[in-house]
């Protein structure tokens, strides 16, 4: 941290100096003012303050200007005060920079999502027609060879599944580009989570994974689009299942908390979490291998996926993020200290409707 002490400013007879008088010193003090010496506190670029020695006529320090000792102390101390103030100032700058960077990233992400949406509608029409042709062709062939051998039957089945998969991807893209509205209703988040858990029950059982739910009973009701929020939790638990692959545990916890830090969600001022604000937090943790550090920054990117081909479209987390942010909430992904991944969804309890 760089700091410097600029030349001191000396007013031998402060009483007649109008700047000092205008600077806020009370008249009664000014009448007694004998000597003033100030040291500007300078960081790299800015003066961040001033340390001053003010000596009154009646002060024992004032013996006809013999003030060498106190001046020396000021001269030595001023740089340290500068550094201390500068550190605080740079800390502020760093905080603002971090907030700015986060906002920029959100804007870039939002722009990416919009681009995907625009592209999706165009691609969907062009791809669905050939898919229909292939699907119909497969069905014609399957009917024409009713006594097909096992391999031919499997081949036709695989072809049909491939068409279904492509259609799901296109369908996901279309939903992605259209789902900009919420159908909000007062809802119990715990119920939504339990319904989502039922939808993934079969997958959990197949993979021998235990789902442990610890749902706080004191949660206030929230304004939710239940269907979309259910989609979020199904996506998150499905991701956890795919990460574990087999034999493990996923935990879902809900809790009512107070924000300990301010957070900006999207670009809407009304969606800014303030410190002390009541929020409902959902944590989904898994016993999988966790997420490699180099993947964390792009995990919400549309089409980013580490899953094998055919297992994921790379849209699950993007869609989940979009839905949570539409609710004025945040979604964060990270790794647990003890291993495995943790997804944290934070939702406002008292949400004001804001113009989007």
């Amino acid at each position: 941290m760089a700091a410097a002490v600029a030349a001191s400013i000396l007013w031998p007879d402060a009483l007649i100096d109008q700047e000092i008088l205008a600077g806020g010193l009370a008249l009664i003090s000014a009448l007694l003012l004998a000597h003033y010496r100030g040291w500007p506190l300078v960081t790299v670029l800015l003066a961040v303050g001033l340390v001053a020695l003010v000596v009154m006529h009646l002060s024992p320090l004032y013996f006809g200007g013999a003030l060498r000792g106190p001046f020396l102390i000021l001269f030595v101390v001023a740089p340290y005060i500068s550094i201390a103030l500068g550190a605080g100032w740079f800390g502020e700058v760093r905080r603002y920079q971090a907030e700015l960077r986060a906002t920029q990233l959100q804007l870039i992400q939002s722009e990416k999502l919009d681009s995907v949406g625009r592209m999706a509608a165009g691609v969907a029409h062009e791809v669905k027609n050939p898919l229909m042709m292939i699907l119909t062709g497969i069905k014609v062939l399957a009917k024409r060879v009713p006594d097909a051998d096992e391999q031919t039957r499997l081949l036709l089945q695989d072809m049909e599944e491939a068409v279904e998969r492509a259609d799901r991807i296109i369908g996901g893209l279309l939903n992605y580009s259209r789902d900009r509205d919420l159908d909000l209703a007062t809802a119990d988040l715990n119920d939504t989570i339990e319904r989502s858990s039922m939808l993934v029950k079969h997958d959990l059982e197949n993979a021998h994974i235990t789902l442990v739910s610890t749902l706080a009973q004191d949660l206030p009701k929230l304004q939710l689009d239940e269907f979309k929020m259910q989609q979020v939790f199904v996506n998150l638990v499905t991701n956890a299942i795919h990460a574990i692959e087999r034999d493990g545990e996923i935990s879902i916890t809900t809790v009512l908390e107070k924000m300990t830090r301010g957070t900006l969600v999207g670009n809407r001022k009304a969606d800014r979490f303030s410190i002390g604000e009541r929020v409902v937090v959902v944590r989904i943790e898994d016993s999988g291998p966790g997420i490699p550090e180099e993947h964390l920054h792009k995990i919400f990117d549309p089409f980013f996926s580490t899953k094998p081909t055919g297992r994921g479209t790379g849209l699950g987390l993007s869609v989940s993020q979009q839905i949570v942010e539409m609710h004025g909430g945040t979604i964060e992904v990270g790794n647990r200290d003890t291993g495995g991944a943790r997804v944290t969804v934070t939702l406002k309890v008292d949400r004001e409707e804001a113009p989007s």
Partner: protein
Amino acid sequence: MRKRRILLVDDEASITRALAMYLTENGDCEVCVENKGSRALAAARSFKPDLIFLDIVMPDADGGALAAEIQGDPVLKGTPIVFLTALVSRRETGGTTMTIGGYPFLAKPVHPETVLASIAEHARERA
């Protein structure tokens, strides 16, 4: 009972060819295909279908406007129409038929079995 007369109007010739094959071989249908939207009305007048499957987005005609023309035609008035569209995903329709402008529609890619079911549901019965 005579075969159901089905008119397929879609600019994608590969789709109508495959679908016509499936319906002819697996349904009790007589199928007529028209790949030019602008000629669909004339094809319908000539074929007198019991049901028309009509693509919505075609390069030379708008399916919606064509449906209105068909319903305004004295000969074709009342002919059931089912839209085929790639603009809506199957998931959005819940896998069942919904309506656009009062007409049922099927979201592409449609399973040909669903097309057969749609014929059973909507085609005009004629003795």
